[in-house]
């Protein structure tokens, strides 16, 4: 179990800095700073010192090849289980002509310009777009480096570059049998002009892309050596835990800390406007100290808030018209001529992320600088908030990124970094702020609740001639990426509600942005589609039932102009044995989704016991995500997304009473467990289309497949999530 050494993640201040400056930065803050740097046998101090004399070949921000042949790839996307630390290197290595075993990985430092996500415009890993964003630029980065290495070799041998080729980390000149390793060519390659354009490999020539690659991070994740943010231990670190105002927007009125201070191991009590932290030698003492505090809170304006008020607000809002997200044809006219009319109102709840690694951040604030140790999906933002909170200039904030013990959108937010810096400003030396699970669930930033009113008109044959959807809820984009919120609309909140795969002649979709008071909202795995796909695919099912047609056949008839959607539907239905007999109280439900540039169809087989307990027995998923980079990761992400989605569909709900989140831990915010896990089958459609996103897609497709199956099993239509005990009334 020593394999982790091969993938030990190293950190640096980035390729935009010279090695000399890098060393000086490291020296300035002490040997403990550069995790892996001084301890790693492959990239150690001696290596770096050597590189000062002979700068490494750094053709771009992603590739660095030293004179000693070490190939370091800088990862602009973070690893949170979705396999980016394997799939992104595959893209570079494919064009660079090196084996995955030959490369080492480095977390990219915060730098929006160099490491911004082309699809988001900011340095963030989210919205299932790492592979989509990286697909062109990182293959180009590898190809550019390869071209310069080949040019360097050709010049050295005085031969035509066209007669040379790169292979397994070497340049070969076959006519003369000469060969040179990349390391030997690095210094010369660094002097070659950067080519204006490079030709990328054809799909037929791929050696890595599309083949199953072993994940580079797995060995360290089975023996306890993988280092997450919560594992950071800078020398002298103290551990803190905190209580934040139980009502969002409330403040600390008074604190009696006499008993807390008496707890063995407690070092300090830190009081903030809206939170109190206990700093101790270890978390056990910190928690004990926190429990011993007597805190009086001033609840503020949301003291009486409950979930019903928020839902009522949405209900009222949808009585008025909203911003038009999409309009096709004339639904008003079409409705007037419809033979059958169907109407339904849907609702989805607030959801917490509940990442297995509770929120945490380690911070060390000094007069002249600040260091942050964290696992975060949006590093540049982590750096920015640390600078703003501490009042230090941006360049004085060093962020050490770590593996992420579950992101799901929670770690696209930097509230935990802000908190840690606020606390660290009052503490001498580094302090690791670890949230209890209760704090993590009660001070999350939540997937918003939404309310949706749908209506449709069917013609004499039962086919939809008009489709209206008006929904209300929070726009996360309006806070997180304000420029992308335009004229009352944003691309995330509406994804899955517009641009449906179905050929609908008249469609009208409106959105009303309604921000709930007293509860912060944020992205949650599968974002907009997490809500919209449940609504549209449930309603499509209702139309099929109203038309007395089979739900698969009904959908298929609307997919004549969407061959990829039709193909996944047919594949999923066939593999699931759609139409074959099932026992009593067992039903199949289907759903289709086009989101994150991937097509999915799922068939869920669900059993509802006489007392209303719902068990998902089997899920079949067909996916067309374009070009597949690492097929096993695609399968893993679908399996993962389905479990995540079933948990939410059956049980997920955050509620407020007296301004307080009522759920607190896994007993009242329960997760699907191994004994409840369905059999999951994944079928991948071969495709040469550009890759689509895979990290979230599986999550949003499953809820309507499950609720449609509940209908098939019992006749109960679930229009409000979670399912909870709604199947009981049958």
């Amino acid at each position: 179990m020593t394999g982790h050494r091969n993938v030990g993640l190293v950190e640096s201040d980035g390729v935009n800095l010279s090695r000399r400056r890098f060393l000086s930065v490291s020296a300035a803050v002490g040997g403990g700073l550069v995790i892996g740097f001084t301890t790693d046998p492959l990239i150690g101090v001696a290596d770096a010192a050597q590189s000062v004399a002979s700068p490494p070949f750094t053709p771009n921000a992603f590739v660095r090849i030293g004179g000693d042949g070490k190939i370091v790839l800088t990862m602009p996307y973070v690893e949170m289980g979705q396999g980016t630390y394997t799939s992104i290197p595959m893209l570079i290595a494919e064009e660079l002509e090196v084996d995955l075993k030959q490369v080492r990985l480095e977390h990219a430092p915060p730098n929006e310009k160099l490491y911004g996500n082309p699809l988001l415009g900011v340095q963030a890993t989210g919205n299932s777009n790492a592979i989509r964003g990286a697909w062109q630029p990182l293959r180009q980065a590898g190809a550019t480096a390869r071209a310069m290495l080949v040019s360097a070799a050709a010049q050295r041998w005085n031969v035509d570059p066209m007669s040379c080729r790169a292979q397994s980390g070497e340049v070969l000149h076959e006519p003369t049998g000469r060969r040179s390793k990349y390391g030997e060519l690095a210094a010369d390659a660094a002097r070659m002009p950067v080519p204006q354009s490079v030709v990328l490999k054809r799909a037929a020539d791929f050696k890595l892309i599309g083949t199953p690659a072993k994940r580079l991070d797995t060995p360290s994740k089975v023996n306890g050596t993988a280092v997450y943010g919560i594992d950071a231990r800078p020398p002298g670190v103290k551990i803190a835990t905190l209580a934040q105002s139980p009502v969002f927007g409330g403040r600390v009125k008074s604190v009696n800390d006499a008993k807390a201070k008496a707890v063995k191991g407690v070092r300090q009590i830190v009081r903030l406007d809206d939170a109190v932290a206990v700093v101790a030698d270890h978390m056990g003492a910190a928690k004990k100290g926190l429990a011993a505090l007597v805190i009086e809170w001033e609840d503020g304006p949301h003291a009486k808030l409950d979930t019903k008020q928020i839902v009522d607000q949405l209900e009222k809002a949808t009585l008025n018209s909203g911003a038009v997200a999409q309009n096709i044809g004339d639904t008003g006219k079409a409705m007037a001529s419809a033979v059958t009319k169907v109407e339904a109102t849907y609702q989805v709840p607030f959801l917490a992320h509940a990442t297995m690694e509770p929120m945490n951040c380690t911070a060390h604030v000094r007069k002249d600088g600040c260091e942050i140790w964290v696992g975060n999906q949006a590093l540049a933002r982590a750096q920015a908030t640390a600078a703003k909170t501490s009042g230090l200039p941006l360049e004085k904030v060093v962020v050490h990124n770590h593996l992420i013990g579950g992101g799901f959108g929670r770690r696209l937010e930097v509230d935990g970094v802000t908190r840690a810096v606020q606390i660290a400003m009052q503490v001498k030396g580094p302090v690791k702020v670890v949230w209890t699970r209760e704090e993590d669930i009660q001070h999350d930033m939540y997937r918003p609740c939404f309310l949706d009113r749908l209506s449709a008109g069917l013609d004499a044959k039962g086919m939809p001639v008009a489709w209206n959807n008006r929904f209300a809820g929070s726009s996360i984009i309006s806070r997180w990426l304000p420029p992308a919120f335009n004229k009352g609309l944003d691309p995330d909140t509406t994804e899955g509600a517009i641009d449906l795969v179905y050929g609908l002649p008249n469609l009208h979709v409106e959105y009303l942005r309604v921000e709930p008071p007293g509860i912060p909202t944020a992205f949650w795995r599968s974002v907009g589609p997490s809500h919209n796909v449940f609504v549209t695919e449930s309603f499509m099912d209702e139309l099929a039932i109203a038309a007395k047609q089979d739900p698969v056949a009904y959908r298929r008839a609307l997919l004549e102009k969407a061959p990829r959607a039709k193909a996944v539907l047919e594949l999923a239905a066939e593999k699931a044995g759609w139409g074959k007999p099932l026992p009593e109280r067992v039903g199949r439900g289907v759903s289709i989704q086009f989101a994150f540039a991937s097509y999915l169809a799922q068939v869920a087989e669900v059993e509802v016991s006489k007392d209303g307990a719902v068990r998902v027995r089997r899920v079949v998923c067909a996916v067309d995500c374009g070009t597949v980079v690492n097929p096993d990761t695609v399968r893993a992400q679908i399996q993962s997304g389905i479990i995540f989605g079933i948990t939410a569909a059956l049980r997920g709900e955050i509620t407020l009473k007296d301004g307080r989140v009522q759920q607190s831990n896994f007993h009242d915010y329960p997760m699907l467990r191994l004994n409840e896990t369905p059999a999951i089958e994944v079928y991948i459609v071969n495709s040469v289309e550009p890759p689509g996103g895979m990290g979230e897609a599986g999550t949003s497709t499953i809820a309507p497949a499950v609720t449609n199956a509940i209908y098939a099993a019992t006749g109960t239509r679930v229009r409000k999530l979670p399912v909870a005990d709604q199947a009981k009334r049958v």
Binding site: S640, G641, I642, N665, F666, L672
Partner: protein
């Protein structure tokens, strides 16, 4: 108060209150961060260790209760035959995703395999349903345990 703890075969002396959970002694006092914090109340299994070979949740096991007993953590479980087979199966089947809960999963799975070399699905349900995985790697965890059990038969 001072406690002598047997951690992975070594005696470590720590000076903490008697009700301090072993989890924090391991992570914060001894610097062994492989054992993870998930819920603090034995609902998720992320902190699972072995106490005299039996899986326990270290977040609710006090240092006093663990005194005099053999503690095995993820850092050393690979030295046991069952632990090594589970780790190898986890790599072969690519079980982990974010990986955060996997220390606990592996400790629970290892204890199961050590006690029952050929576990049934029902045995696996019983032994593993106390361990939450938010990435939903359950399908592969089940397969991984079976893979490890088969490996023993072949060996």
């Amino acid at each position: 108060m001072s406690y002598a703890m047997n951690v992975n075969g070594k005696t470590r002396t720590v000076d903490v209150d008697e009700d301090t959970p072993v989890l924090w002694v391991l992570r914060d006092v001894l610097g062994m961060t492989g054992t993870k914090f998930g819920c603090g109340v034995a609902l998720c299994g992320a902190c699972t260790i072995h106490l005299d070979g039996k899986p326990v949740r270290s977040c609710i096991t006090s240092v006093a209760a663990a005194a005099g007993k053999r503690i095995t953590t993820i850092e050393a479980v690979g030295a046991t035959a069952a632990g090594r087979r589970i780790q190898q199966a986890w790599i072969a089947l690519e079980v982990p995703q974010c990986g955060y809960c996997q220390s606990g999963q592996i400790m629970s799975a290892t204890a199961l395999l050590a006690a029952k070399p050929n576990p049934t699905d029902s045995d696996i349900d019983d032994a593993m349903s106390g361990n939450i995985c938010r990435c939903g790697t359950y399908v592969r965890i089940r397969e991984g345990i079976k893979h490890a059990a088969r490996g023993k038969k072949e060996a």
